[in-house]
Symmetry: C2
Subunit: 361 residues, 2 copies
């Protein structure tokens, strides 16, 4: 694994976990699942697999300071700063260009900073297996068995098995379909050969750079100029070139039309993108009444299936006669909502934007 690097994509925003997740401090910086932040968990999950000097973090300036504090083992120069987020294609392109210069034989494992993985041993095993496949010039994706017809995920349709590449099952990808409409999603989950794209990828840097050259020539030329610059001038060059880039995801920009894509079934990971408050009920272990208390003192009377998230202070949160509730208590906002309506925090954020209540965003 000496030429293998982990690239943590950590610049994302996202409002689905508002009011904890904020414009300048998104969800990966908070201990949503307990003591560690999602970003810290992503880093500690790599222990024994990648030494800190082979972990890169791509983020934005607003978040970099918090991240350096949360993961001091990662060397300063391994933080790559985007002047502004331009989508995951640019994130991966930037990391690939810089890694390729550092180590022409580099393989990279792309890992989102804000996901949860319960089964760390299997994650390690899968990473090693994915590296074996990526060594043979495949773009390797990790697929999750769909549990409902989501229109928010990308879908991967598997083809024939790739024999002899790995002792773990791995398949050729027949089709890569990002964010389908609901009807299409329903059709896809009825067949057994579709999985969700987990957003984790493993590939050689030269392979993904070749795909950028073929499919995203504008990004490719920017990346080539950045790679050619000497280290001292690089930051300035990124700052000047970044705003010219089209905002694009790796999924639309590359994966839908990429060649030699493989998928490894990864449902056993206990993966979650922690995409809404009620997703925490699947990720964490509730008590005997179905309640979950994170960072808070919760006194529950006749209360069931209720999630309480606090700020780790000495505030006492008391519930009486409540069922199926999510309570999120931050310094300036209190959210109380029905679990199955927790996605509606997006409507709240939209309302606050419309009414220019910036302080709560």
């Amino acid at each position: 694994m000496e030429h293998t690097y982990a690239v943590i994509m950590a610049g994302g925003g996202g409002t689905r976990l508002w009011p904890v997740s904020r414009k300048n401090k998104p969800k990966q910086l908070f201990p949503l699942l307990g003591e560690e932040t999602l970003f810290q968990s992503t880093v500690t999950r790599l222990e024994g697999l990648f030494p800190p000097e082979r972990i890169l973090v791509v983020t934005v300036a607003e978040q970099a300071r918090d991240m350096r504090e949360q993961a001091p083992s990662i060397p300063d120069e391994n933080y790559l700063i985007e002047p502004a987020p331009r989508g995951t294609a640019s994130v991966i392109g930037l990391a690939a260009a810089i890694l390729q210069q550092r180590d022409p034989q580099a393989l990279m494992a792309i890992l989102p900073a804000d996901h949860h993985i319960r089964n760390r041993d299997l994650f390690h095993y899968l990473m090693c297996a994915a590296v074996d496949v990526a060594e043979t010039d495949y773009l390797v994706t990790l697929g999750i068995s769909p549990t409902y017809p989501s229109t928010a995920y990308g879908y991967i349709q598997q083809g024939a098995p790739l024999d002899g590449k790995s002792s773990y099952p791995v398949y050729n990808v027949q089709r890569f379909k990002e964010k389908p409409d609901e009807k299409t999603a329903q059709q896809m989950i009825r067949t057994a050969d579709h999985s969700w794209n987990s957003g984790m990828f493993v590939w050689k840097t030269e392979r993904i750079l070749a795909e950028f050259a073929r499919q995203m020539p504008e990004l490719d030329s920017v990346l080539k100029r950045i790679a050619a610059a000497d280290a001292g001038a690089r930051a300035e060059m990124i700052t000047s070139l970044w705003p010219t880039l089209k905002v694009e995801t790796i999924d639309y920009g590359v994966m839908e039309n990429a060649e030699r894509v493989a998928v490894m079934p990864a449902s056993g990971l206990g993966w979650s993108d922690v995409g809404s408050w009620d997703s925490l009920f699947e990720v964490l272990l509730p008590d005997m009444n179905g309640n979950i208390s994170i960072n808070s003192q919760h006194l529950a009377l006749e209360t069931h299936n209720t999630l309480v998230y606090g700020e780790g202070n000495e505030r006492l949160i008391v519930t009486i006669g409540m069922d199926d509730l999510v309570i999120v208590d931050t310094g300036d906002v209190l959210l109380v909502c029905k679990s199955d309506q927790s996605q509606q925090v997006r409507d709240v954020v939209a309302h606050l934007k419309k009414h220019r209540q910036e302080r709560y965003l």
Copy 2:
């Protein structure tokens, strides 16, 4: 009305409006119904009826400072301090003894500090009518038509009308029954001649002192010693004698066996003892969705019949998909409960006491 005095009983504790109402800062000191505190509303309700110099406040030392700040018009010497609460009999006894010395023709109107009265005009009218009746040596009570078989109130059974005493209806009291069991309460509310005791009384000080002498001789002797002391030595005497008193309410100690008791029907007052969080739904005017927001910024999505009480700060309280809820947000405690279970805050307080979590009491 020149010999008539208002005596505000303001030393009470009470846990039914926890977490706002606390051991050393009970509910009358908070703006539970909006801008004014319950105590302030009790004082402003007297404007045009009693000048400040004829308003006495009986309270305990812990609350006196807050009260003086909240009602600066009342002269300092009109605050009577109990060293510790010994029940309403002692409160009324102390005020009566001191008033009797100040003005031998005094009449006193006893008014709890933590009740709400919607109809101020009728309150003024009733007070004047009650004074007319009290002038004829009656102990006058104000009665409220029962709406359910409460076991927490005292019940007054009315007898024959007292003709010629007042242009407002007034009846002889046949029986005074404090806190009945539920079966008895059910029997009493089936008849039309029972009302709840509102806790408001009007009488001559010499009449109530005579009842103390007859029914509570120990209290009577303490009161006589306090009245005989000169003003400078009085506070010290109260401090030394008060702990010897039996804790007793005026209802059990005097009213159940008092002579010449009258009752005036007072339901039209829009009275409430603000005895639980859900009682606020009756006292305040909800919006078109049935929601009530007090001292808080409430952003309600698909939310109905929900009460939100805050601390008047800039915290934003968001609810999504909630019905029939009470949310109370104080600095150190957050309460979220079903409206019809809001009485169970007493269980919470009991739990906290048992587990010695004094800070939240």
